[in-house]
Every structure is written in structure tokens, then in C-alpha cells.
């Protein structure tokens, strides 16, 4: 593989979105879906084969690894790391690999935290705020609409500002909270990347199904290379799954890291 993107998907105990993330990256990188349904006890259902011309090289990284090679992208996938016991993401942030994630984020690597990954990023201090229990205290598994608030990030450049996309959510703790001052900063610095909205793009205040402040679904850090979001872009990248609105996140990363799929 030349001139492509090197991506890592971190596997914590009970990361359960790890395979979905890897599969989406492989699909978008032009590689056949390997069909892995598990990272470390692989049952090989491979059918499509692997395309050596793939633009994305994806590998799993075990959470106990304390030194990893440099990656262009590190994904903290969805899941219930350590059972979400104590508090979501609160134990995972102490995994040995997290020091490496922080180091590589500082180095400029892109870090994408999806759902539980977002929770871990806030616990690790890579993103501000916290994810509280959903407003109605129920787990929510359904599709939501999001408005792209900032298309000038490495995660959203394939979308247009104001574009409305549909993605699934599946979480019990997605109620984003930040104090007023922090919220103002996020807004002023354009760091609110996705907001929950209605299908036609309106965002009446309070539409977030989980009660998130300012209807925030995803934010980036000050440098713009760390994104955390509650919805699951990796689950909607093929028409057979009901849509491909999630592809933009991964295509944006390819654009940002290695000039996109086309070049």
C-alpha cells in the first residue's frame, strides 16, 4: 500500500463496535470486506478478498499495548468498555494504550471517538465536557438526523456545511454536557461539528433525543484533529444497511490524510 492511510482501531475489553469500524474503513478504502466478525478470535467468513490497492490499511490495536507505531488515524470504537462500570469510559482511559493515543493526537494524528470512544475521549481530557445519562434514562437505538455545522474539519470536508445526514444512535449515555462558558467557546471556535436536527434540517432547540446541551452530537478539540461523536457513521456506509450517509466521515479523513480516494 502506497500513499494511503494507516488506521488503527483500538480494542478495549468490550469494545463491540471494533469490527464495524474496521469493516467500514476497509469498505471505503476500496478493500473487500474481510468479513471479520471478531478482532481477536477471528472467524474468517472472507468472501470478497482483500484488495492490495486499498487506500486504507486498518489494523486492530489491543488496549494493553503501551507503545504502538505511528498511525494517521486512531479510532476509539463504540462499546461498553469495562462494562461501563463506574462511569462510561472512566476505566478505559487508564488503559496503557491511552498514553499513546494522547501522544499521537499531539503529534497531529487524527483521532475519531465513536459513541463509547467519545466518552473515553472526554474522560481522557482530549475533548471537553461529559456524556451524561440520556434525559429519559432509557437506552436509545434508532436513526437520527444531524446537521453538519462545520465542514472545514478533517472529518467533515466531504460534507457541505448545513448538510443534513441520517445516522443511527445506540447509547444510554449520550447527553452531552458542558458548562456555559465552555459551550460558548465551542460555539465561537466552530468546534461543534454535528448537531441533532429534524429531517428537513431545522434544529429547534431541544430536539436532541438524549437531552444533549445545544443539541450537540459531535465536537472537535482545539486543534481540530480529535473528533468525538455519539452517532455511528460506521454503521451506515452501504445502501444495503439503509443508507451511506456515514461514508463522508471516512472519505473526509482520506481527503485530509492522503488526498482522497481518487488521487
Amino acid at each position: 500500500m502506497m500513499g494511503g492511510m494507516k488506521a488503527a482501531v483500538v480494542v478495549f475489553p468490550d469494545s463491540n463496535g471494533d469490527c464495524d469500524a474496521k469493516r467500514a474503513l476497509e469498505k471505503i478504502g476500496g478493500q473487500g470486506v474481510s468479513g471479520d466478525v471478531s478482532p481477536l478470535s477471528k472467524i474468517d467468513f472472507s468472501g470478497d478478498g482483500v484488495n492490495p490497492l486499498s487506500k486504507i490499511d486498518v489494523r486492530f490495536v489491543w488496549h494493553k499495548e503501551s507503545s504502538i507505531e505511528d498511525f494517521d488515524l486512531i479510532v476509539l470504537p463504540g462499546g461498553f468498555t469495562f462494562g461501563d462500570y463506574l462511569r462510561t469510559g472512566a476505566i478505559a482511559r487508564y488503559s496503557p494504550v491511552m498514553k499513546e493515543v494522547v501522544r499521537q493526537a499531539k503529534r497531529g494524528a487524527k483521532v475519531l471517538g465513536i459513541c463509547n470512544g467519545f466518552q473515553i475521549l472526554t474522560e481522557a481530557g482530549l475533548l471537553p465536557g461529559a456524556l451524561l445519562r440520556n434525559r429519559d434514562l432509557l437506552f436509545l437505538g434508532r436513526d437520527v438526523w444531524l446537521r453538519v455545522e462545520n465542514d472545514a474539519t478533517p472529518f467533515t470536508n466531504a460534507y457541505a456545511k448545513g448538510q443534513v445526514i441520517r445516522l443511527p444512535i445506540a447509547h444510554g449515555d449520550g447527553n452531552y454536557f458542558i458548562d456555559d462558558e465552555g459551550y460558548k467557546r465551542l460555539e465561537e471556535e466552530g468546534r461543534i461539528v454535528f448537531r441533532y436536527c429534524s429531517p428537513d434540517g431545522d434544529a429547534p432547540s431541544g430536539i436532541a433525543p438524549n437531552g444533549a446541551k445545544g443539541d450537540i452530537a459531535g465536537i472537535v478539540n482545539e486543534e481540530g484533529n480529535v473528533l468525538g461523536l455519539m452517532p455511528h457513521p460506521e454503521r451506515l456506509v452501504e445502501p444495503i444497511l439503509g443508507g451511506r450517509d456515514g461514508r463522508g466521515v471516512f472519505e473526509s479523513l482520506l481527503n485530509a490524510v492522503c488526498g482522497g480516494l481518487k488521487r
Binding site: 472467524i43 463504540g78 469495562f82 462494562g83 437506552f139 437505538g141 445506540a170
Partner: protein, 755 residues
């Protein structure tokens, strides 16, 4: 090594068998088999293994009626789960099974349901399969009752809590509310996994000298005697039984799942089985029994969670998230390495012996030793007396014509759509993660869930079904219709029905009327399975579902697996496009008995259950599958509970409003047709073997030709489109209202009740 004298028998009291849930006759049978008096620990082993829950002593004889073989069946009943072939070329198979967790859920709904889900998941990966989907079948009392609401809330949260955390999508299920489940809800969980045909594992302890390893969680005092508890009726004093309920840890199970599949994949394991009801006792004796070998367990080697546990407590503990593995001695270290990585314990606790005995030791002291087959195959088989209950003849004759005189059909349709039995179960399935794994291509809310199969172009359709009102009023037809409806649901998605698992929930089998229900329902089910060539590959029987002496309505629940030759041929139930033709396939008879509409109006469960004609039903399935494969259908929906009016309304609502956030309201229907039956029977009767399809006009000719080829009755009803929902029958407008009104009632009723 010392002999059995080391464990002092404690059989000094007179009715000691009672403490172990055994009868005097059963105790005598044990003495005859053993040719001596069993000691306390041995009697404890018999107590749990001969409980209904483990031995199926009251159901075994009846279960032999089921067809269990077929070219698609790779593993029939007797193992941890059944296996059917999905893709011969890829050697891809589905391992699947359904099990009840009713009694624990009545006492502690969250943990009861959660551990039900956890238990069935272990059964699936014990086969070497990767679990890829969960379904369920739930029954509660009427939702205007606070207790039923609390149980409903807790059970749904528990199912979600476990499944979401372990990351297996919950893709489908069914929920039914009826006062007969007030004190004894039903929680049936089904899990489906994928496995390659040559990589299926069995729960057998083979190879003398092989090591018995206990892996996963430590053993504590939770759930002791849960199996015996499940074999008794419930009553008001049951909160005292909370210690009988296990506590689930889905995080631990996720680690156990990954570690287990990793050692299986590495070829380190000879046989394995999960520890469910009756814990170490059942898994150990069953593994030895199946292999005809023998094994011992040394209690000193069992990792404990609590100090000073008695031998019987260790043997009967139902601590969750444990598996028993049979391993060659040279592989023990490698196994331990893998489990270490996952921060799990893997302890060598015993050895395969070859003496045929299931032996419990403490160091060198033998505490109990019983030939394994005494505990398993030699359990009593009871053929109970069956007597037709009086209600059967009486209720069958009840006159259900009252419905015919009801004038306001729009109002009745609204009432039906808002009743919890018919209304959308969105409130339930939105608490489940249904999309994780990125294989779910038809999500909850359609007739069957469909998953794509990785590395194969095929798809797998899954559905659970049962109509308990039918099963009460006419158990034979109820049992048969449960199979027919589940197959119809699978066929409506375009898949060929392959095989079933069942979960047979009944009251106390010692009552002749209950046993009659059981015999009748299983007879009906067996006949239907034969007719549709969908063998039974496994399942579970749950008796003693009674509260204060009153039995539940029987629930012979079906979990069906079907296969789509091409996953792209899948069909969903929602209308797709304006102008499509709406057609009723099948025949509507003057049948109002046992209907949801009659119950809603009168509060009575009565009348004759709709007739089921296997031949007609089979032709309907053949039509649905062939029409899907030739891409004729825009939508297909089973016409069942609530009848035609409800079925068409559901197609229109879900077509216009699949997510409840984006109501388009443009896929209503203005239908106008004629027929022979009364308006009541036409709209709300529940005649079997019917489906509502929608077809693009350019596909109608081919569709009609297929219907004629299969000699199926059909009635074109009208076209999809518009913001209204109107039904005109024999020249009279029976229903007319904005679709949006119906959509609101159907989509939001359950959420509003549960707010």
C-alpha cells in the same frame, strides 16, 4: 483416595426428598438405581437434574412427536443448540435456540431477563458459533396494571442492558399483553449464531485423562437451586426467592465469548458447554452422559467468590458467565494464556475418567459419585393424565356475532391500533441496539428481521411468534398457527422457512387440563412442522407458569429461521410508492372468533379459532418466496392479529412514517373492493393464510400469473397513495380518516402508556 464414607449422609429426617423437590416415588427410584441410599450431596444432584427444568420429565414423551430431521438440519435436539445449513457452498450454518427465563423475571425483572439473554448466548457460542442476533418473545399482564407495567419496564431494560453491552443486535421479537400473565410474565430469549459446518463443537466429555476446565466467572452463592425454583408455581411469597435469581454481568460474558471463540479457533478444545440451570452439576453430568464417559470435579480447585461454601452450594450454584471445557492435558497452559489475556480465570477442576460416573471430590475425598446416565437419561419420564378442560367446548361455541353489529369501524380500527397488543413496539425495540454488527438489513418493525451473511450473497430471516389466545381456546390450532405465522412472517420477507426452535410455556403439568393443553399444542405444532418441512432443532419447556394457582394462557412460542438465496431480494412490510396496487392474497372466511377485535370490544376470549389449511398456507409461502425472488413485490405483510384493516393500516403507516420523525403522509390508501363475508369479518376477522402485498402496476401481470399458477385466492383492493386512509367495501365506506391520525395512535400508544 477414600470412599464415599467421607461424606456423612444427612438423611436422618423423614421427608428429605421434599427438600430437593423430589417425590417419594422418585426417591425410591433413586435408591433402586443406586442400590444404596444416596447421601445428601448426591440427592442434591438428583434433585436439580430430575427437576422438570433439567430433565423434561413431564414433556419428553410428547417432544418425541416433533419432526427433527431434514436435509437442512446439521444438528437436531440434544446439544446446546440446533444447527441448520444456510449456505452449503460456504459451509455456513446458523446455530439457534430459544429458552425461557420466566420465573426469575417475575421476581426480579431486570436481572431475570438479562440472565435469560446471557444464558442463551452461551448456548450458541458453546456450539462454536459467533452469536449475531437476538430475538425475544415477551408476555405481561394488562398494561393498565402497575405491576405489569413495572415488569414490562424492567424486562425490556434487562434484555437491552445485557444484549446492548455484549454487542449482539436484538433484531426482533413479539410482545403480548393479557391478564393471565399478571403474576407470571413470560420472557423467552432466542439467540442465533453463525458457524462453519466443520467447526461445530459439541458438549461432550471425551478422551479419558483429558482435563475438565472451568472458565469465566468465579462461583458464588447466586441462583442456587434456580432449576428447582423454575419447576414450582409462583405465589405471593416469592419475593423471598430473590436469592434464587442470578445476577448477570454482560461485560464478563463478552470477555468469555471472545476468549472462548479464540481458544476454539486455535483448536485447543475438545468439547464445551455453558453452565446454566443447575450449574456444574448439569454441565458436568450432561457432558459425561452424552459422551458415555465419566468425569470428576475437585471442589478444592473451583475458584470461589465466597468463603466457606458447602459442597452442594458449589455444585448447584448458578453463577453466570461460566463455561466448562474439556481439554487435552498438553493444551491447558495455552488455554490459560488466552484467558489471562482477557483477564479471566481458567481453572483445571477435574478429569475425564471413563468409569461412567459423575464424581465430586474434595481433594482425595470422594463426596458423591453417581453414574452420569442416572442423572440424565435415567430421569423419570412421566406421561401425565390429560383431560379436556370444560372451557374448551363452551368457549368454542360462543357467539361472536356482536362484532357484526358494531357500526363505527373507523373508531374500532383506531382502538385496535392503539391497543398495546397491536400498536407499534417502538418503545421496546428502540431500547435495543439493532444495528450493531452491520449485518441487520431489515430492522425491527417488519414481519421478520433479515441479516446479511458475511462472505455470502445470502440472507437469513428470523421471526418469533405465538398467539396465546388461540393457544388457550384451541391448543391444537394454536400450536399449528404459531408455526404457520412464524413461517409466514419469514416468507413475507422473501425467505424460505428452514427450521424452528420452540419455547413451550404452560401451567402446572400435574393438572390434567394443563397437560391436555400441552399435548394438544405440541400435536398441532408437530403436524404444522411436518407440513411445512420445518423441523424442530431444539428448544425449551417451561411448566409451572402459574400464579396463586391460576395458569397462564399457553404460549407455545416459535423461533423460526429462514434463508434468502439472494439477500437483495428481501421484502419489507411498508408501502413503497404511490400508485402501487394493494392486493389481499388468500381467502377471508366468516371468522370472528378468538379475534383481537372481539376481545377489545367485549373483554372476552372466546369463539372458534380460525381454521388453518396447511396446503393453502404452504402455497402462500411458496408465492411469497417466489414473488420475492423474481422481484415482483414492493411490500408484503402477514395478515394476522387485528385482521385486514390493521394489516393495511400498518403497511401505510410504516411506509409514510417509518421513523416517527419524518411523517410524509403520502402513502395512505383509498381501497374499494367487494366480497362475500360481513364487513366485520372482512376488516377484523383473523382468517389464516393471508397476506397483504403491494405491487407496482407493471409487475401486476406477472404477479397475477404466479397467484393463478399456485391456485391462490386474491383480491385487488385498490392503490397506495394520498394522505387519507379509506376502506370501501361492497359499496359502503367503512373506514375513512387521515392516515396521520392512525399513525399517531399506532406509533405512540405504548410510549405514552409507559411514560
Amino acid at each position: 483416595m477414600t470412599g464415599l464414607g467421607g461424606a456423612k449422609p444427612r438423611l436422618d429426617s423423614t421427608n428429605v426428598w421434599k427438600e430437593h423437590g423430589l417425590t417419594e416415588e422418585e426417591y425410591a427410584r433413586i435408591e433402586t438405581l443406586m442400590q444404596r441410599e444416596p447421601n445428601y450431596l448426591e440427592l442434591s444432584l438428583f434433585g436439580v437434574m430430575w427437576s422438570e427444568h433439567c430433565s423434561y420429565k413431564n414433556s419428553r414423551a410428547q417432544l418425541r412427536k416433533f419432526p427433527v430431521t431434514g436435509p437442512q438440519v446439521v444438528q437436531g435436539p440434544g446439544e446446546n443448540a440446533g444447527v441448520v445449513r444456510l449456505d452449503a457452498e460456504r459451509k455456513l450454518c446458523a446455530a439457534f435456540k430459544m429458552e425461557s427465563h420466566n420465573h426469575p423475571s417475575a421476581i426480579e425483572p431486570y436481572q431475570g431477563a438479562a440472565t435469560g439473554v446471557g444464558g442463551i448466548i452461551r448456548d450458541i457460542f458453546a456450539m462454536g458459533a459467533r452469536p449475531v442476533a437476538s430475538l425475544n418473545s415477551l408476555r405481561f399482564g394488562s398494561l393498565d396494571d402497575a405491576r405489569a407495567k413495572g415488569l414490562f419496564r424492567g424486562v425490556v431494560a434487562g434484555v437491552g442492558g445485557y444484549g446492548n453491552c455484549i454487542g449482539i443486535p436484538t433484531v426482533g421479537g413479539e410482545t403480548f399483553f393479557h391478564p393471565s400473565y399478571h403474576g407470571n410474565p413470560l420472557v423467552n430469549a432466542m439467540c442465533v449464531g453463525l458457524v462453519e459446518e466443520d467447526k461445530i463443537f459439541k458438549g461432550q466429555a471425551t478422551g479419558v485423562g483429558n482435563i475438565v476446565m472451568l472458565v469465566g466467572a468465579r462461583t458464588g452463592r447466586d441462583g442456587i437451586k434456580g432449576a428447582s425454583f423454575a419447576s414450582e408455581e409462583l405465589s405471593d411469597s416469592d419475593p423471598d426467592k430473590r436469592p434464587n435469581v442470578q445476577v448477570g454481568d454482560p461485560f464478563m460474558e463478552k470477555l468469555l465469548l471472545e476468549a472462548s471463540l479464540e481458544v476454539l479457533e486455535a483448536g485447543l478444545v475438545v468439547g464445551l458447554q455453558d453452565l446454566g440451570a443447575a450449574g456444574l452439576t448439569s454441565s458436568g453430568s450432561e457432558m459425561a452422559g452424552r459422551a458415555g464417559s465419566g468425569l470428576y470435579i475437585d471442589l478444592d480447585k473451583v475458584p470461589l467468590r465466597e468463603k466457606a461454601m458447602e459442597a452442594w452450594e458449589i455444585m448447584l450454584s448458578e453463577s453466570q458467565e461460566r463455561m466448562l471445557m474439556i481439554v487435552e492435558p498438553s493444551k491447558v497452559e495455552e488455554i490459560q494464556k488466552v484467558f489471562d489475556k482477557w483477564d479471566l480465570i481458567a481453572a483445571a477442576v477435574g478429569e475425564v475418567t471413563g468409569d461412567g460416573c459423575f464424581t465430586v471430590r474434595k481433594g482425595e475425598v470422594v463426596l458423591a459419585s453417581v453414574p452420569a446416565e442416572f442423572l440424565t437419561d435415567k430421569a423419570p419420564v412421566n406421561i401425565r393424565p390429560a383431560a379436556e378442560p370444560e372451557y374448551f367446548r363452551v368457549l368454542k361455541k360462543a357467539d361472536c356475532s356482536e362484532l357484526r353489529g358494531y357500526g363505527n369501524w373507523t373508531d374500532l380500527l383506531k382502538k385496535l391500533l392503539s391497543s398495546p397488543n397491536i400498536a407499534s413496539k417502538r418503545w421496546v425495540y428502540e431500547q435495543y441496539d439493532s444495528t450493531i454488527g452491520t449485518n441487520t438489513v431489515v430492522r425491527p418493525g417488519s414481519d421478520a428481521a433479515v441479516l446479511r451473511l458475511p462472505g455470502s450473497g445470502k440472507g437469513m430471516a428470523l421471526a418469533t411468534d405465538c398467539n396465546s389466545r388461540y393457544a388457550y381456546l384451541d391448543p391444537w390450532r394454536g400450536g399449528a398457527i404459531a408455526v404457520a405465522e412464524a413461517a409466514r412472517n419469514v416468507a413475507a420477507s422473501g425467505a424460505k422457512p428452514l427450521a424452528i426452535t420452540n419455547c413451550l410455556n404452560f401451567g402446572n403439568p400435574e393438572k390434567p387440563e394443563i397437560y391436555w393443553q400441552f399435548v394438544q399444542a405440541t400435536d398441532g405444532m408437530a403436524e404444522a412442522c411436518k407440513a411445512f418441512s420445518t423441523p424442530v432443532t431444539g428448544g425449551n419447556v417451561s411448566f409451572y407458569n402459574e400464579y396463586d394457582g391460576r395458569a397462564i394462557y399457553p404460549a407455545p412460542t416459535i423461533g423460526m429461521v429462514g434463508v434468502l438465496e439472494n439477500v437483495e431480494d428481501r421484502v419489507t412490510s411498508d408501502f413503497k410508492a404511490e400508485g402501487d396496487l394493494v392486493v389481499l392474497v388468500g381467502e377471508t372466511l366468516e371468522e370472528l372468533g378468538a379475534s383481537e377485535a372481539h376481545f377489545l370490544l367485549t373483554g372476552k376470549d372466546e369463539g372458534e379459532v380460525p381454521v388453518l389449511d396447511f396446503e393453502k398456507e404452504k402455497r402462500l409461502h411458496a408465492f411469497l418466496v417466489e414473488a420475492a425472488e423474481t422481484r415482483l413485490l414492493a411490500s408484503a405483510h402477514d395478515c394476522s392479529d387485528g385482521g385486514l384493516a390493521v394489516a393495511v393500516a400498518e403497511c401505510a403507516i410504516t411506509g409514510s412514517d417509518a421513523t416517527r420523525s419524518a411523517f410524509k403522509g403520502d402513502l395512505g390508501a383509498a381501497l374499494d373492493w367487494a366480497g362475500d363475508v360481513s364487513p366485520a369479518a372482512m376488516l377484523f376477522g383473523e382468517s389464516q393464510s393471508r397476506a397483504v402485498i403491494s405491487v407496482s402496476p407493471d409487475k401486476w401481470q406477472a404477479t397475477e400469473a404466479l397467484l393463478k399458477k399456485l391456485s391462490l385466492a386474491y383480491t385487488p383492493l385498490g392503490k397506495v397513495g394520498g394522505a387519507a386512509f379509506s376502506l370501501r367495501y361492497n359499496g359502503a365506506v367503512l373506514v375513512d380518516c387521515p392516515l396521520e391520525d392512525l399513525a399517531g395512535l399506532w406509533s405512540d400508544s405504548v410510549s405514552e402508556i409507559m411514560r
